[in-house]
């Protein structure tokens, strides 16, 4: 053991020595180059020293032209240790410094060199006026005619670039050293270094791309002019406008959550507790909207009920005038888009409630309604709460729908976007999205740790498959009637988008036309290509990383596991706007500059979609007997081989759904990505938004349709692949 530690220390020592050597060489070479170039500037400028009568003019021109240095002229070179006989000319701040410090040994040296027609660079940096760390050069001012030395020129060069470079170099070398040390430590000390590398990678990734940006966002909200200050928060908490936005978000969240839970429960109840017809259709339509791209439902609502909407016009004829923009419209759109969350949660809950309870109740001669009210409903209460909180969180974080439909309603997600992009007040934006995080996080944690624990649902593992009819035919007809009305409305919404593609100018000219399609395709090719490329890169990364993380969490014991899990899962609870803002805050300055690159978008996708993949991976790994993996290891497979040949095939369904989920979510991202796109890397959803803002609804419809097709296609392929796998996987344990 001791021998290995000594070996490790020796290797590290060697690395440090070689590193220091490279580091100093690079640094010295760089400094030599910049100083040489500064010296050349000094030489050239000094060589242009004019006739005495033109000196003032010359200095003025230099002050205007030069951008990396300032210059002052000492008309008469003083004797060492003596004060200047006359005030220097040129840049006032530099002149003042020269006059004040004329007796300083460094200045004396400079003047001395100038007197011998030599150029001298001060050994240390000086503060010139407000600017610190300026490098001073001294050069002789030689008359062209007489070749006499008429004075000394003092140059002050900015060293910002130099210092920036040094900082970068330091960070780089420190980073490289740490990386090296970790790698060597793992290779020398650990029995399976691959696991160590994977763990180190995960920690590094989450710290850099989850913890660090959030910390930066939080820090910036407490900063004013580079100093700690509460002024941002004071402004926000005292502002009526911002507070009304918070109130608006909460109001919207409550309404949407309530309506979505009602609709979701209706769907779930009819599917799992009645003998209604077309249950398959009801289930499908109850899930479909959850994967519809952002803006699509909003878009069709605007097409139908907007100021120039199809239905608005009819209603105006009848004398009804209203505006869809604002709270009611948003609640409608969000409910249509988010009730599937409630449906999925509640149908899971209802299916898990053994219908034997209800049979028992009916058997004890309770009525159907009584059974529903006394048995089914109370058992489903934790599920209902859970669904409500989930929708509430989603609604609060929603960004795309308010963007188009908020009208006068102020909501926080939108407000922080306006602060950042409209007003360029990053601190305010960060603070607002943190404010949004509070209710979101509260609801999320309440759902996770309080409601979920209270659930009565016990998995018996033997679903009876029987359905206890809990409705009378009349009630059933009414319920199915409502459901079909909602389904027809949904189909109408999708149909409207489709129809929007083929209409010349929605709201004005309803003639058939293919112009929109051709225009949309030519104008969106680049954005579409970008979007698909970025999603296609992020997808396999997120999928593999998720499965590796799940494997480590389920199978390995290591320090900081809870912490890592928390960091990995955090992005799930974060509103996209917060993540987007914190990314531009954290990655537009050293040490990591990523703003404007494809990498920042890809990393954002990966980080945001990891939690779902990891949860899926964990759930399916828990089903798999660890001795399967141990058997492979025992037969000689290293950890990477076990992962490739055993784990990945066994968690294939979870892996595939993680892949398709990431792809779809990346294709349809808005809230975070809107902050991260650049001229080079654009996103199609932002394009849809731009078209809608400019009332080019036809173009927006075409792009939405394209997205819908891609999204449904991706899910379809995934379903096919998983089904193929299903027969194989029947007996995993």
């Amino acid at each position: 053991m001791n021998k290995r530690v000594i070996n490790f220390l020796l290797t590290i020592l060697f690395v440090v020595l070689v590193g220091t050597w490279i580091y100093t060489s690079v640094r010295d070479e760089f400094l030599k180059q910049t100083r040489a170039s500064q010296r050349r500037t000094v030489e050239t400028v000094a060589a242009g020293y004019p006739e005495p009568e033109d000196v003032d003019e010359w200095l003025k021109r230099l002050a205007e032209d030069a951008n990396d240095y300032r210059i002052a002229l000492v008309p008469e070179i003083p004797m060492p240790g003596e004060k200047l006989s006359s005030s220097p000319k040129g840049d006032p701040e530099l002149a003042k410094l020269t006059e004040d410090s004329a007796t300083d040994p460094e200045f004396s040296k400079g003047f001395d060199n100038a007197a011998y027609e030599e150029i001298y660079r001060s050994a240390r940096n000086w503060t010139v006026g407000a600017k610190e760390e300026q490098a001073l050069f001294f050069a002789p001012a030689v008359s062209l005619k007489t070749h006499d030395i008429e004075g000394a020129l003092v140059f002050a060069f900015n060293t910002d670039g130099e210092q920036g470079f040094m900082r970068m170099l330091n960070t780089l070398f420190f980073g490289a050293f740490v990386l090296f040390a970790v790698v060597i430590w793992q290779l020398m000390m650990s029995r399976d270094p691959i696991v160590g590398f994977a763990l180190a990678g995960l920690f590094l990734m989450t710290l850099t791309f989850v913890a660090y940006p959030l910390f930066e966002a939080l820090r910036l909200s407490f900063m004013e002019n580079g100093k700690f200050s509460l002024s941002v928060w004071r402004t926000i908490l005292n502002s009526e406008g911002y507070m009304s936005a918070l109130w608006g978000s909460l109001k919207l969240g409550c309404w949407t959550a309530t309506f979505s839970t009602l609709v979701g429960f209706l769907f779930a109840f009819v599917v799992s507790r009645t003998n209604a017809p077309c249950k398959k259709l009801i289930s499908t339509m109850g899930v479909l909207p959850v994967i519809s791209p952002p803006f699509s439902l909003t878009l069709s609502i605007i097409l139908l009920f907007g100021n120039n909407g199809l239905i608005t016009r009819w209603l105006r004829v009848v004398g009804l005038d209203f505006s869809i923009y604002g709270l009611p419209g948003l609640v409608l759109v969000q409910t249509m888009g988010m009730f599937p969350i409630a449906f999925l949660t509640l149908s899971g809950v209802l299916q898990a409630i053994d219908s034997t309870f209800e049979e028992a109740s009916l058997n004890l001669s309770a009525g159907r309604f009584q059974t529903f009210a006394k048995i089914t409903l109370p058992l489903a209460v934790p599920g209902l709460l859970s669904a409500w909180l989930l929708v509430f969180t989603t609604s609060l974080a929603d960004f795309a729908n308010p963007l188009l439909l908020a009208g006068d309603l102020r909501v926080l997600s939108l407000e922080s976007y306006i602060e950042v992009t409209g007003m360029n007040r990053l601190g305010h934006g960060a603070a607002l999205s943190i404010l949004l995080l509070l209710p979101t996080l509260t609801a999320f944690l309440a759902q996770r740790f309080w409601v979920a624990k209270r659930s009565y649902v016990t998995v018996t593992g033997k679903p009876s498959g029987r359905i206890t009819e809990l409705t009378t035919p009349g009630v059933r007809r009414i319920l199915t009637g409502i459901i079909f009305a909602i389904i027809i409305f949904l189909i109408m919404l999708y149909g409207t988008i489709f129809a929007g593609c083929f209409v010349k100018n929605w709201g004005i000219d309803y003639t058939f036309s293919l112009e929109n399609i051709t225009e949309a395709i030519t104008r969106s090719t680049d954005a579409l290509f970008d979007t698909v490329t970025l999603a296609a890169i992020a997808t396999p990364i997120a999928g593999i990383v998720a499965m590796i993380a799940a494997l480590l969490i389920v199978r390995r014991k290591f320090h900081g596991k809870k912490f890592l899990e928390m960091l990995l899962m955090t992005p799930f609870a974060l509103p996209g706007t917060l993540l987007g803002i914190s990314y531009i805050l954290a990655f537009n300055h050293a040490p990591i500059i990523l703003v404007g690159t494809a990498a920042i978008i890809i990393i954002n996708y990966v980080i945001r979609e990891l939690p779902v993949g990891i949860e899926g991976g964990i759930a399916s790994l828990r089903q798999i007997d660890p001795s399967i993996e141990e058997a492979a290891t025992d037969l000689g497979a290293d950890q990477a081989t076990v992962f490739r040949t055993i784990v990945l095939p066994l968690v294939r369904p979870a892996f595939l759904s993680s892949l398709s989920y990431t792809f779809v979510r990346s294709m349809t991202a808005v809230s975070a990505v809107i902050f991260l796109i650049s001229a080079r890397w654009y996103h199609i959803t932002v394009l849809i938004y731009n078209f809608s803002e400019n009332l080019r609804f036809g173009l927006a419809s075409v792009l939405s349709t394209v997205l819908i097709v891609i999204v449904f296609g991706a899910f379809g392929i995934m379903r096919l692949l998983v089904r193929e796998n299903a027969n194989l996987m029947k007996n995993v344990t």
Binding site: S627, E630, A631, L635, G636, T641, T645
Partner: protein
Amino acid sequence: MANKNSKSVTFDNIVKIFKDPQSGQDVTAVGGVSFTIEPGELVTLLGPSGCGKSTILRMLSGFENPTSGRILIGDNDVTQTPPNKRDTAMVFQSYGLFPHMNVSENVGYGLRLRKVPQKDIDEKVQRFLEMVGLGAMAKRPPSRLSGGQQQRVALARSLIVEPSVLLLDEPLSNLDALLREQMRVEIRRLQKSLGITAMYVTHDRVEAMSLSDRIIVMKGGLISQIGTPSDIYRDPVDTFVSGFVGKVAFFPCVVKGIDDGCNVEIKGHTFKAPRWSDKLKAGDKALVMARPESLSIGEPGAGVEDGTVTANIYLGNSVETWVHTDLGNVLVQIDNPDVKKIFAEGEKVSLSFDPSLTKVLVDDLPKE
């Protein structure tokens, strides 16, 4: 006959301390264990659950790291070698078959990792499948095999890589009684014919007795006794071992003196036992250990302990009679019952034993 490939296994003062995840306290699973397994030998680790036997197996396979001590396979110190680099192959309690591969792919997995040409793999897989009697099942998925067949696949998968040491972790515990007996014979036959060193973990004493060259009896993370099955049965070191490897009755006695045997006195009767604990000396209170087959039943007052017959279990070649005494319930095995007297339930009897089959042990039984 030891295979040239098989190697010895040495545990040198191995300690394993776990951290209890709940309380964070240290738990000693194995507290300083040393032993050697000779090449080609099958050694069983026998003990109640929690005695550390599985931990020892997992340390030998490399899945657990010893806290201190050394493990050698042959002359190689493998203490720090990861499991995939060790020349061991394990048969898991739950088999650990790869569900996404069929039988022959499962068996050939280890060979594929060793980059053996596919043609040789196919040929060898078929040969090993024939050996375990599954030649016709090559293309089946493991989920369509019975428990015993799955066990054979797991065995073939481990044997095909020709490991230096074969490890078996309670491999028969998921099988029903009849299959268990068959597999026991099968495993012993394969191990013998391949001459492979093997370590077998079980808590079933019958399994241990019938399979092993030697048995290591463990208790509380320590080795109680190492020996051949008959050593351990006839000459156990303490009351725990004697009770764990078979039915036994203990009679309190006083040691009178030790010469070529151990002379003891029970209620005025004196006996000479051929085996005794080294720690005993004249004057000690001790126990006489007697197995059911060394006990006999007579009229009350004739033996060393009186009691009442509570049950007779007829097994054909023998009758097991339970006698309730002040010492507890004692099992007496009466061979050839047709020619002997069987006392009826409720009859008063007395117990006596054949001293030449007994051993005198230190009295370490817990006192009420």
